[in-house]
Symmetry: C2
Subunit: 216 residues, 2 copies
DNA sequence: CCTGTCAAAAATTTCGAAATTCCGCGCTTT
DNA sequence: AAAGCGCGGAATTTCGAAATTTTTGACAGG
């Protein structure tokens, strides 16, 4: 199979987020080279880019490894995501106009639509990629009017790390899960559109806190 | 001159923070190669690492450039630094023990010491590197007990970006400058040791807000 | 005079191999 | 038997050059 650099990047990212590549697993350019039909140096560069977004770890003279996953790291990632999302949402509520409201509404609508389909089918698997993308899009839209490139970029990276940790730690989504988070997304949306900063911060915190478990 | 990879990294970082390398300037591996007596690929890797911490920008097929600097970017960096430092300080005040208090006191003492020497000499230049390091150390110690690797790492990167922006935008430090920031560092220290979260957040905000100028 | 095309030059990216460094394993020594 | 040493294989890092892509600049056409 022959692919170019951006494809290798996307494919490795996907494998990391699926937890197909397990945490701590060594990522040897010489092995991956075979998967993609390119030179080891090209893989090396892609891995460096994945280090940038926090999905891969690197140590000089010791190579690359899949980012470690455990509950305490997941807690850290989750708390940081709460911080970024609260701040991003608050600033968006200050600065966002009607265009932002429309985009947020649309993103929420798409998310609800997919969740309905999943509940009907009684099986998430065929929709996992779609749902994942819709959820990501809702949360990114929420903070999209914050006016800070740094917050948006950092949040995007943290969101990927969040997914990687979550996919590894919780292998399945329960059925009740969707009911709860559907209500929570609705709360976030309502507070955001009402420009209720405190309420929105509370809703974001509730939505994400479930992932934090002390005494890891 | 022959140096190894970590040295190239440190030297380029230094040149970027000094604003010796001006924003937007193209960083051609083939040129830098001559400065360090290594292959272009080695420089390339170092530049990728500098992208990770935000001092260098990269665009596929178009190479590397020194990170852009302007007032609006500096505003963004500063606001983000305020957010991280407030959160880091608040968590440190919750979790930090007597060891943290001692380290923070020591860091502040060292900073005051250097500032006294600068005021006596009436010239910052010989002490710039020392002062710079002491100031960085104080702010990093402030958040060092926060218990979040993510906050600390992100803050470290943002601090470097802050310096790069500042060194480019404000070429000189006024004399009055030190008087003000000395008082501000004292306020941050006092509030932190008193575990006064709100006061500490206010002090941090005041300390950093001076760098924000609207209507860039 | 402006615009679009095309070839030459320059820069970036990729490559395969050489050089270096690390790691496991058996050996010796105490 | 435990600890230290050194060898051999494997992985990482570096290199110089080839291949690809972008940029430049001149020239023809509108």
């Amino acid at each position: 199979m022959r692919v170019d650099t951006p494809d290798i990047y996307e494919d490795l990212k996907r494998r990391l987020m699926n937890a197909t590549l397990r945490p701590g697993h060594k990522l040897k350019p010489s092995d991956l080279q075979g998967d993609y039909g390119c030179s080891a140096n090209t893989v090396r560069e892609v891995l460096h880019r994945l280090v940038t977004i926090g999905l891969v770890e690197f140590e000089a003279q010791r190579g690359f490894r899949v980012r470690a996953v455990d509950q305490s790291i997941f807690n850290d990632v989750t708390r940081f995501r709460i911080l970024l999302e609260q701040e991003g949402a608050e600033r968006s509520m200050e600065k966002g106009g009607v265009a932002w409201e429309m985009h947020l509404n649309a993103a929420h609508h798409a998310l609800v639509h997919i969740q309905t389909r999943i509940l009907k089918a009684g099986d998430m698997e065929p929709f996992r990629a779609l749902w994942s993308e819709a959820e990501r899009h809702f949360h990114e839209t929420l903070i999209s009017a914050c006016g800070s490139a740094l917050i948006r970029r950092t949040h995007a990276n943290i969101y990927l790390q969040f997914r990687q940790q979550m996919m590894t730690l919780t292998e399945e989504f329960g059925g009740a899960y969707f009911g709860m988070i559907a209500a929570e997304h609705q709360q976030i949306l309502d507070a955001a559109l009402a420009r209720d900063a405190a309420g929105c911060a509370r809703a974001i915190e509730q939505h994400l806190r479930r992932n934090i478990r002390e005494a890891a």
